[in-house]
Amino acid sequence: MKHARVACFGAIHEATLADGKLKLSDGRLVDEKEVTWLPPVEPGTIFALGLNYADHASEISFKAPEEPLVFLKGPNTLVGHDGETRRPRDVEMMHYECELAVVIGKKARNVRREDAYDYVSGYTVANDYAIRNYLENYYRPNLAVKNRDTLTPIGPWFVDKDDISDPMNLKLYTYVNGELKQEGCTKDMVFDIPFLIEYLSSFMTLNENDIILTGTPKGTVNVVEGDEVVVEIEGIGALKNTIVGDEVFVR
């Protein structure tokens, strides 16, 4: 089943997809266009992977790493489907990253990879934007590149694990203003989902609603103010976002 968190009728609601409409938990049916979409999961720890597709690593002049390159994000950076992301006016290179997001379903510590999916509750789609002008070589990718307010759209749907028969074989697409710019497949991940869960849980406890953004394939290009960016993963959803400039924030 596909689940969402939305704001409408003066409150925040949980909803599911039913015949092309959103069915709120109180039974009301509402059109997808009439709600404000929130991140579909209230996040715990947010993990993200750098250089987890070999083709993207070579695109930005890196060898794929021998150990997962993990960084963390704060809740400030998330926005829901159909939201806006700020592009500061002094930057030259801001790119999207279409990523499969894995949601942890229960406490996990020292999990073996063959058991890893027992600890997954489902999946969503994230756009892990990066502003490359702010890269510095300290704890890279540093928070100024990856953890800015509005920089990580996520959603629209949280999809139950059982609805996705093979999460390691899903097509990913990014469209900018309707034009296909990025295309890949989760089978090309350097470290797959079971490996990542085994790896992380080998040294720390994962908890319910922790989220792992699993990295992006090649095809990341600059986006500018006014661009409409859609990242889509087969069977999970299409997440839309619009780039806005500093004047929206009165800067």
Partner: protein
């Protein structure tokens, strides 16, 4: 002299008002010793740490800044996140992972955010502060700061916080207070927040320029150069002027069973 603070206990939900005296803590009119409480972290928001914000740490790396992989000195605050599994509390044990002989103990001041801080100016920054607490940012020693140190810094229990939040009115000059670290009652390190590269208001300005700090979030002002280490059996106590002292014993990691809950 008693001073007002806020704390969280296992038996309560929100923050409780307490009054700190010389040898006791007063809660709901009752005077008790510290060990009578089951302390929880007084902070439940996101914990952001700052690297390279003590002048001595910056001076020690000055030459490295111009070599690979760094190539140039940092321009912005170097931040990291201590995720929720790391949060620990006063008088609780810290487990040293099996593969580590010892850990670094980074005694530091934690600034508790009091209201949503977005794009805040330095001169207004303290308006967004609720108070201060003590933090021991525990870490597996690592020499390179090139990649995020998740494996070194994000271990379970690696961030004792507390015992309480002292409201800012009781800390007259947070940019000039001493941090004392004791190992088994012996003083082993002294730092002062007057040696911060970016003062607390400046840090809040430079971070909130791009990242909203929410009410209840915690900002660690910096970690010391050449931090002391702890082994299983050691007790580390961090004292900060006007705030109190945070004490934790270090133990060997328990044997854990694959798949989840500690048994």
């Amino acid at each position: 002299m008693m001073y007002h603070a806020k704390a969280r206990f296992s038996s309560t939900t929100g923050l409780e008002d307490i009054y700190i005296g010389q040898s006791h803590v007063e809660w709901k009119g009752e005077k008790l010793t510290e060990d009578a409480f089951s302390w929880q972290s007084p902070v439940v928001g996101t914990v952001y740490g700052t690297l390279l914000n003590f002048q001595e740490q910056v001076d020690a790396l000055k030459e490295d800044f111009h070599k690979a992989p760094y190539n140039k000195p940092p321009e912005r605050p170097v931040l990291y996140i201590k995720p929720r599994n790391t949060i620990n509390a006063h008088l609780k044990e810290v487990a040293i992972p099996k593969e580590a002989e010892m850990v670094e103990v980074n005694g530091t001041l934690g600034v508790v955010i009091g209201k949503t801080a977005t794009h805040v100016k330095e001169e207004d920054a303290l308006d967004y502060v609720e108070g201060y607490t003590i933090v021991n940012d525990v870490s597996i020693p690592h020499r390179s700061f090139y990649r995020p140190a998740i494996k070194q810094k994000a271990r379970d229990g690696f961030c004792p916080i507390g015992p309480w939040i002292v409201l800012k009115e009781n800390v007259p000059d947070p940019d000039n207070i001493m941090i004392w670290t004791f190992k088994n009652d012996e003083l082993i390190q002294v730092n002062s927040t007057k040696d911060l590269v970016r003062s607390i208001p400046r840090l809040i300005q430079d971070i909130s320029e791009y990242m909203t700090l929410a009410k209840g979030d915690l900002l660690l002002v910096g970690i010391p150069h050449d931090p002391p280490t702890a082994k299983a059996g050691d007790t580390i106590r961090i004292e900060i002027d006007h705030i109190g002292s945070l004490e934790n014993r270090f133990v060997y990691e328990n044997v854990r069973v694959a798949g989840g809950e500690k048994v």
